[in-house]
């Protein structure tokens, strides 16, 4: 009995999560006329991919897509690199002021991103990088939050592995890339995925520092769909699907890693 109730609640939860997603895809396959009928049809009467074709043919949208890919890849790659190095330093290396420095970095996390926009903007203007893709990448090449997560993961790796590697002749650098990083794969996959989603969806900063369509990314593209040609829901939904799909694929690919990260827990002694 209690099982049935539990399943019912879970099913309801799942439905609320999935339905908007489902509605987006269904709507993107409808014709303009069908989208606006009342009462709405549940499944499209004659599914059409015209909206997708339109979305891609509307030239900047393909460009936005490419930009999104480039910016996200660059941000994730650089963030991962700096995060790994910083997390290693803060977890394994001993240097004066390490813990104070780390605590002050954590304190910086309290400052909301919106507060930093002005100073970041000034920096970008100062470097004459406005309206370039660099402007979308450079402010996002490191992350205190991910460093914190990864540092904690690194701290959970027993000291004996480090000393063992040192006695085996490995340098810190070698140990980091041959032992720690492979062991931290689940944590890295999680961080990478979260990071990719954040970059992919970044909107405010993108609008601020870029003007020309050559340098803008997908979220702005969606925005353009809403304003320039009135709201054509079926086209907007097709565009939204295009925006979402890559992240879904990425998630499906890394899902297994994230799950093992949670379930593996410790090391067998």
């Amino acid at each position: 009995m209690s099982r049935t109730i539990a399943y019912a609640i879970l099913a309801l939860g799942a439905l609320t999560m999935v339905f908007p997603f489902f509605w987006m895809i269904v709507s993107s396959l409808k014709t303009a006329a069908e989208v606006n009928t009342t009462p709405p049809t549940f499944l499209p009467e004659s599914p059409t991919f015209d909206n997708y074709v339109y979305a891609f043919e509307k030239a900047p949208f393909a460009r936005y897509f490419l930009n999104s890919v480039i910016v996200t890849a660059a941000c994730v790659a650089s963030t991962m690199f700096t995060t790994i190095l910083a997390a290693f330093a803060f977890s394994r290396l001993k240097f004066p002021g390490r813990d104070v420095l780390f605590a002050s970095l954590l304190a910086l996390m309290m400052i909301p991103f919106e507060m930093l926009i002005i100073t970041n903007y000034q920096t970008i203007v100062g470097w004459k990088l406005t309206d370039t893709r660099w402007a979308l990448i450079i402010p996002f090449t490191s992350s205190i939050f991910y460093t914190y997560i990864l540092r904690n993961f690194f701290l959970s790796i027993p000291d004996s592995l480090y000393y063992s590697a040192r006695v085996d002749g490995a340098s810190n650098w070698r140990y980091l890339w041959r032992v720690m990083v492979p062991m931290a794969k689940p944590a890295l996959a999680t961080i990478g995925l979260l990071n990719a989603i954040t970059c992919w969806n970044a909107f405010l900063w993108t609008v601020l520092v870029t003007n020309s369509p050559e340098n803008r990314t997908l979220p702005f593209g969606l925005y353009a769909f809403m304003t320039s040609s009135g709201i054509r829901y079926e086209r907007l939904m097709a565009a939204a699907t295009i925006v979402v799909i890559p992240m879904v694929i990425l998630f499906v690919c890394f899902r297994k890693n994230i799950v093992t990260g949670v379930s593996r827990g410790g090391l067998k002694g």
């Binding site: 006695v167 085996d168 090391l267």
Partner: protein, 353 residues
């Protein structure tokens, strides 16, 4: 390689983990660092490997001062208590790791790994991950990895403590076999006196960071320098009979009965003393100096008949042959053999006889 430790001291803040230790570990020997928990054994091991810097003193490998050298330059192999295998690598990759760092060509690496796998008898397990190996197998892999770069010194930290009782006996013989085959000077840490006695060529016994005695296990057992050594070695533990020294003889606490042993020096009358007697040093039928006693309990441990005796109001254990017909409650006379009977100062632990 011969390891010489000179006046080695390690302090952690106020606590002294190792206190002015000087000892020489023989070339090609299997040496046990023995002592109760917290006596500084592992600290010494870590200083030998270079993981921990020494506070004072020197460590010499074949006369060469290595005190300041980092671990990677000492050419030692180290096996941790938890084995510390890299969990994402197979047994083979684990063994090859030190060789890979040495930039040995892959073909040679694999050959060497195959040899070592044969030595530690894990040839058929090379492609398994550590999580798919049992404790004993993980340990074999760890030993193979430590031996891979042909270290001059092999260090084992509590190598048997994570294994079950049966495997422990088997693995300690394996360690002896591997050490004899590889001929590398080996130091292992243990708190188990039986483990140390059974395989070590040389036992270094420590208490609270201070060296108590170092010699062969036999010598430690037969000729302990102080009470701690006598008490730490042997199972069942050595019997402790309390009393005082009066007129150059030991007198039992309650009864005042005397037992004479040749003393090493003049001892003042009234000095509190412990007559320490090994269970196997009890002789029945009695001859020479005899002591009356009563049989309190009698039980069998494996092949032996162990009796609990009441001697002058104090309890002690003694092996009395099953051929000798005694029963619980019987009174009889016993005497002690010369070997395995010692007199210690009850306060300082100094050996008096």
């Amino acid at each position: 390689m011969q390891v010489t430790i000179e006046h080695l001291t390690k302090r952690f803040g106020e606590t002294i983990a190792v206190n002015d230790l000087s000892v020489t570990l023989g070339d090609g020997r299997l040496v046990a660092l023995l002592g109760p928990s917290g006596c500084g054994k592992t600290t010494i091991l870590n200083m030998l490997s270079g993981i921990l810097p020494a506070t004072e003193g020197r460590i010499l490998f074949d006369g060469r001062d290595v005190t300041a050298l980092p671990p990677e330059k000492r050419n030692v192999g180290l096996v941790f208590q938890n084995y510390a295998l890299y969990p994402h690598m197979t047994a083979l990759e684990n063994i090859c790791f030190p060789l890979e760092i040495k930039k040995m060509p892959k073909k040679q690496r694999l050959e060497r790994a195959a040899q070592l796998a044969q030595l530690v008898r894990i040839s058929e397990l090379l492609y398994r991950k550590p999580s798919e190996l049992s404790g004993g197998q993980q340990q074999r892999v760890a030993i193979a990895r430590a031996l891979a770069k042909e270290p001059q010194l092999l260090l084992l930290d509590e190598p048997l403590s994570n294994l079950d009782a049966k495997l422990r006996v088997e693995m300690r013989e394996e360690i002896l076999r591997i050490q004899r085959a590889s001929k590398v000077t080996t130091v292992f840490v243990t708190h188990d006196q039986e483990e140390a006695s059974s395989i070590a060529d040389q036992v270094v016994l420590l208490k609270q960071g201070v060296l108590q005695q170092q010699d062969t296990a036999r010598k430690l057992y037969d000729e302990p320098d102080n009470f701690f050594v006598a008490d730490f070695l042997g199972a069942p533990p050595i019997n402790k009979l309390c009393g005082t020294i009066e007129g150059g003889k030991f007198r039992f606490r309650d009864s005042g009965a005397a037992y004479g042993l040749p003393l090493r020096r003049e001892v003042a009358d009234g000095t509190a003393a412990v007559l320490a007697v090994r269970a196997e040093s009890v002789v029945v039928p009695a001859a020479g100096q005899t002591l009356p006693c009563r049989v309190v309990e009698r039980y069998t441990i494996g092949k032996d008949e162990l009796s609990i005796l009441d001697v002058e109001g104090q309890r002690m254990r003694g092996y009395i042959s099953g051929d000798y017909p005694i029963q619980k409650g019987d009174a009889l006379d016993i005497s002690f053999r010369r070997k395995g009977v010692f007199l210690f100062d009850a306060e300082t632990g100094e050996r008096l006889s």
